[in-house]
């Protein structure tokens, strides 16, 4: 049950039969103190912790932070990543750390890591997914994946993982952040701080998992044909240089035409939408090449497809929050949630603003009832089950654990 342990940290715990999920957070500026406090609150002296999931600002010395967490819960497997803001039931914040802990006999966990830079995207996805077989004895499984969103087409990681686990094990997770500097992110594995990597935890449980995915954007104007693209780079739209078509359609502010940082800020709230069978797949526009007049997205934009420019507002984005939480909880076969993980796109944060994300996290906490919530603002979201496919942008992915 929730208990305050000082103004800078907060812990919550839910226990059901022998399974439990706990969370702790801290904004203590010292890495070691913050890590230790958050971890102690998350575990809260409960028996048999099996997994720690850490979301931390890279303002911290992440090596020190990991070491402190490991010291507070010795021998418990740890995965985690750097963020562009952390989510906890107590609210969303920057420059802090959130630790989620799972424990009890009903959970089985196997963690893994792979370097994208060494083995390639698809192979790294396949390699971490292999851990799922270690928990094959559990009736319900999920693969929690945290990756480096700046290291190429994340869809390939999802495909690689899917090729190994198949339809049986849903994939869920997000891409690490770096407070929107878009330069370098970190992945945490036990005591190591990694770059250009994927870390994963295969979680097996006696009870179901539920996944909800919603974006809350809507199409603006007429579609354009992606007349030339190369992987994540969009070269032309309707035969016009993509950057020009994009800026013109949106009547973008003058500084977005010349200043890369201003462009990224602007593009954050104006993603591209690709038409899919039952929805749009949203593509975050990360940067512009002012020489080549091209756009670079966080995931592949196939040539020949139709693309819309999308827009959203606070209401539509918050409505998506409710919908994602509801569908995640609906997957629990009417059992109460032990905890919720939220992987929320940094762009949605951009639309919502500070007050908006406060409301959003409040809503997630409401849906969670009293169960702990942990997550972070991501550079791309992963969710694959039989209803939704693969890698997402500008989306909220909620994993509910019963």
């Amino acid at each position: 049950m929730p208990g305050l342990s000082g103004p800078m940290s907060l812990g919550m715990t839910t226990t059901t039969s022998t399974r439990w999920v706990g969370s702790g957070s801290s904004r203590e500026p010292d890495a070691a103190t913050a890590g230790r406090e958050a971890c102690l609150d998350a575990v809260a002296d409960r028996p048999a912790p099996v997994l720690l999931v850490v979301f931390a600002s890279d303002a911290y010395d992440l090596t020190q932070l990991s070491a402190a967490i490991r010291a507070a819960a010795p021998g418990v497997p740890l995965i985690g990543c750097s963020t562009s803001g952390e989510i906890a039931a107590s609210g969303a914040g920057d420059s802090g750390v959130v630790v989620m802990a799972l424990g009890g006999a009903g959970f089985r966990v196997s963690t893994s890591r792979a370097s994208v830079t060494e083995v390639g995207l698809r192979e790294a996805g396949g390699a971490v997914a292999a851990a799922a077989t270690d928990v094959a004895a559990s009736p319900h499984r999920v693969l929690l994946v945290l990756s480096d969103g700046l290291a190429g087409d994340q869809e390939e990681i999802v495909r690689g993982a899917y090729a190994v686990v198949g339809a049986e094990v849903p994939l869920v997770g997000g891409c690490a952040g770096d407070d929107l500097r878009m330069q370098s992110t970190s992945q945490l594995y036990d005591g190591d701080v990694l770059k250009g990597s994927v870390v994963a935890a295969a979680i097996g449980s006696d009870a179901p998992f539920g996944i909800g995915v919603e974006h809350g954007w809507r199409r603006v104007g007429e579609p354009m044909v992606v007349t030339a693209s190369d992987g994540v780079r969009v070269l032309t739209l309707d035969d016009e240089p993509a950057l020009d078509a994009y800026l013109r359609r949106l009547d973008a502010p003058a500084e977005a035409h010349v200043d890369p940082a201003a462009f990224t800020r602007f593009a954050l709230t104006h993603p591209l939408g690709l038409s899919r069978r039952s929805t749009e797949e949203v593509r975050m526009v990360a940067e512009a090449d002012f020489e080549e007049r091209s756009l670079t997205c966080i995931a592949r934009v196939p040539q020949g497809g139709l693309a819309w420019i999308m827009e959203g507002d606070g209401d539509s984005v918050l409505a998506a929050t409710d919908a994602a939480c509801r569908s995640a909880l609906a997957g629990l076969d009417e059992q109460p949630p032990l905890g919720l993980f939220a992987f929320d796109c940094i762009a949605r944060r951009g639309v919502l603003g500070d007050e908006g994300i406060r409301q959003e996290v409040e809503r997630i906490a409401e849906h969670a009832a009293m169960a702990p919530v942990g997550g972070f603002y991501t550079y791309g979201e992963i969710a694959r089950n039989s209803a939704v496919g693969g890698f997402h942008n500008q989306t909220l992915v909620v994993l509910a654990i019963a």
Binding site: T133, A163, V165, P302, S386
Partner: protein, 779 residues
């Protein structure tokens, strides 16, 4: 959830897959990627590709856990669901990549409900793309193996290049069609893109898209074609399902080809006679239904269709079906196909009979020997509506006009739209002696304002009436032509009226067409001259400027007044070129006068016609005239008739603002004589109000008319407009208008319009009142 068919979602999926696999060098990669793409696009959970019944790729099963036996059984059609551990029971969809089922694509999806027909089509499309991609891969492989034999190599290399090019072309063509659909191009453009694409792809000069006639499913209609002569297109418009290569492809639901057309299966006579030597057709599917066929044909002999070309046509036809699956397109398609069958008889805009149908009905009526009359109705100034409000408004207006004409006729009377803004009525229920009454009834109904969304339009119509008494000898064509001639007379008499045809009118018509021809020549031969009527400032008693007036120095008829040729010049649009010349001449002449030392500078007024104003180039023409002449802009006044501005005040105001921006002055020429509206006047950036001679003539006559003139002048003053009084002929008129405070005048009291040389002579007189007594000329 959005219905999948609402956008061309599936065509896009195919195009994406083509683009994706085109870039992959390795066969296993091609298969795996195509499988992934298919599973992702259909939001499936599992998938597999089988070659000769063996699983060669799979997705959605944990590694090494593929239930091979179950998948193979599913591919053989022995089961239609599969259990996927952890995910549930999958509904299966199995499609063949080629005609012999050597290779199959299997997809499974957990979500409830089966696959829609569009999804089945899409899966078939994916399979087809996979097959095409692998074929290209084989060509490449073959080329590698043959590399040692240089001659063979060269040939193979050519084949490879050709194959790669074909694939690229296919991709581009498909993308173009998709773009046509996604950008909401009219259906005929989409269909044209399809036949053009197929023609380019296969390289045959004849291509046709045949679709099943919704009104008669046993028949096919040619929805689009290239390379056919109009005659052949006409005779081959309809053909039975099962006849000809295209008909066989529909009835047999497979690719059909004939490399010896005239001796092959059921050739169509029209094509055989046209010299078609070989032809190939592939069925076009929508869902599981064949809706038509895509046919290519050539008149070249010895044509052999390669496997690759056959595959290409099948793929293209599959894609065409998907493209046409778009819900909106399907609806449009049904209309288009029905239209194609009705096209020969019906006007698509108004749904009224067209000219062909009208003439046929007229012919039939004449054969019966009954008395008939024909009305030829042409809207007045319709072009102005089209030009200023746009074609959609013009089209809407035509539809309502059609309805009103129909509403004003009775019983057996037949209304048709002949084309453009021309309508015709065949009066059968109305005796000839009442034909003019019927015409009047129609004229009155058309003179009421038309309320269209966002626009209220007042437009009149000119009507020609021709009577054919019982047992008359005229042919249908002659009657219609005579009605046309009478309509022209009605226009010439001032529009908005009906005129009964008389034989003498044919002569007039000939004269009119001669006038039109002469006008065209006149521009080239510089037969137009500009005359100038001085404008006097009575306070200083000086000529301060002139109004430039157009004259035509006709080589045979001599000097012609504008009233005799300007209406024809307006109608034909020649006025734009003529007006441009007047602008250049008048500004150049005035600049030359002003260049003479020690003379006060003159201004010049030039009339701008309706057509000129609404033509986009008028601003450019004025700028050009000012630049060439060097005349300062404020010395040029453009005179506009108010009636031409009221058609679309917003458009007019926009163009006038552009003209004002050049620095010229604007004058309203006929204020108070036509549609006068104070609110219009206040909205226009006008400087000068010209007081029309009709007011001037009135000031002497009676007090009420004098008050009218006073009101116009007061109005000008309240709007801070300058006035120029024109048409002043007597001293008493001058005195009365001076009393109202007017100072600028023109009229015969001083001088008629005169040529430039004469005006210079007049200017050399010290004062305006000393101008010698004028010789009468045209105003």
């Amino acid at each position: 959830m959005r219905p999948a068919a609402e956008t061309s979602w599936s065509t896009q999926q195919l195009t994406e897959l083509l683009a994706l696999v085109s870039a992959l060098p390795d066969e296993a990669d091609v298969i795996q990627r195509a499988l992934e793409h298919a599973v992702e696009a259909l939001e499936g959970d599992v998938g597999a590709v089988l070659t000769e019944g063996e699983v060669v790729a799979s997705l959605g099963y944990a590694a090494a856990a593929v239930p091979v036996d179950e998948v193979c059984a599913a591919a053989r059609g022995e089961r239609d669901t599969l259990d996927v551990p952890g995910a549930g029971q999958c509904q299966l969809l199995v499609v063949s990549c080629d005609s012999d089922s050597h290779r199959q694509l299997l997809l499974g999806r957990v979500s409830a409900g089966g696959y829609t027909s569009e999804e089945r089509s899409l899966a078939r499309g994916f399979a087809r793309v996979l097959s095409l991609a692998l074929q290209a891969r084989h060509t490449l492989q073959h080329e590698r193996e043959q590399r040692v034999a240089s001659e063979e190599n060269a040939r193979r290399h050519q084949a490879l290049l050709a194959s790669l090019r074909e694939r690229q072309t296919l991709l581009e063509r498909l993308a173009r069609i998709q773009r046509s659909i996604s950008t909401r191009r009219p259906l005929h453009e989409v269909l044209d893109a399809i036949v053009a694409g197929a023609s380019e792809l296969i390289g045959d000069e004849i291509t046709g898209l045949r679709l099943i006639d919704p009104d008669d499913p046993a028949m096919l209609v040619m929805a689009a074609s290239t390379g056919l002569t109009p005659d052949v297109r006409e005779t081959a418009r309809h053909s039975p399902v099962g006849a000809g290569i295209g008909g066989l492809a529909v009835s047999e639901r497979r690719l059909v080809l004939s490399e010896h057309y005239s001796t092959g299966d059921q050739p169509l006579a029209a094509f055989r006679i046209d010299g078609v030597q070989a032809s190939m057709a592939a069925p076009v599917f929508q869902g599981d239904d064949v809706v038509g066929s895509l046919v290519v044909a050539t008149r070249r002999s010895g044509r052999v269709y390669t496997d690759s070309e056959q595959e290409m046509l099948v793929a293209f036809a599959e894609h065409t079906g998907l493209a046409l699956n778009d819900a909106r397109t399907v609806a449009a398609l049904h209309v288009a196909v029905s239209d194609a069958t009705r096209q020969a008889r019906q006007d698509p805009l108004t749904d009224l009979p067209n000219r062909t149908d009208f003439l046929e009905k007229l012919r039939a009526a004449l054969e019966e020997g009954a008395p008939v009359s024909v009305l030829f109705i042409d809207l007045d100034d319709f072009k102005l509506v089209n030009d200023t409000l746009g074609h959609p408004v013009g089209d809407a207006l035509l539809r309502v006009v059609g309805e009103r004409v129909v509403g004003s006729t009775r019983g057996d009377d037949q209304v048709a739209r002949l084309g453009g803004d021309e309508f015709a009525v065949l009066l059968r229920s109305t005796p000839p002696d009442q034909a003019e009454l019927a015409a009047e009834r129609i004229r009155q109904s058309l003179s009421q304002p038309f309320h269209l969304p966002g626009h209220q339009i007042s437009i009149g119509a000119s009507t020609g009436v021709v009577l054919c008494p019982e047992g008359g000898f005229a042919s249908a064509e002659e009657l219609l032509r005579d009605a046309d001639v009478a309509m022209y007379r009605a226009k010439a008499l001032g529009k908005g009226r009906a005129v009964l045809f008389a034989d003498s009118m044919r002569v007039d018509l000939q004269a009119r067409s001669r006038l039109e021809r002469d006008l065209r020549n006149a521009i080239e031969r510089h037969e137009f001259v500009v005359h100038y009527q001085p404008i006097i400032d009575v306070d200083s008693d000086r000529v301060v400027g002139s109004e430039a007036l157009l004259r035509w120095n006709h080589p045979e008829l001599g000097l012609m007044p504008p009233a005799e040729f300007v209406p024809v010049a307006e109608e034909t649009g020649l006025i734009i070129a003529i007006g441009r010349q007047v602008l250049c001449d008048a500004t150049a002449q005035t600049a030359r006068w002003n260049a003479v030392p020690n003379t006060p500078p003159l201004m010049v007024s030039v009339n701008i016609s309706a057509r000129q104003l609404m033509d986009g180039a008028v601003v450019e023409h004025v700028r050009e005239a000012l630049m060439r002449s060097g005349l300062p802009a404020h010395r040029l006044t453009l005179e506009l008739t108010e009636s031409l501005l009221v058609h679309d005040i917003d458009v007019a105001a926009g163009i006038l603002s552009e003209l004002k921006a050049l620095g010229v002055k604007l004058a309203i020429d006929d204020f108070g004589t036509g549609y006068s509206s104070l609110s219009y006047l206040a909205r226009l950036p006008v400087d000068i109000l010209k007081v029309d001679k009709s007011f001037v003539a009135g000031v002497e006559r009676d007090a009420s008319e004098a008050r009218l003139a006073a009101t116009v002048v007061a109005l000008a003053r309240s709007l801070e407009l300058q006035t120029v009084v024109e048409g002043v002929e007597t001293e008493s008129q001058l005195a009365a208008l001076r009393m109202l405070g007017c100072t600028l005048f023109q009229g015969y009291l001083w001088s008629p319009p005169v040529d430039a040389g004469r005006l210079w002579e007049l200017l050399s007189h010290t004062t305006a009142r000393a101008i010698p007594s004028p010789r009468p000329a045209f105003v």
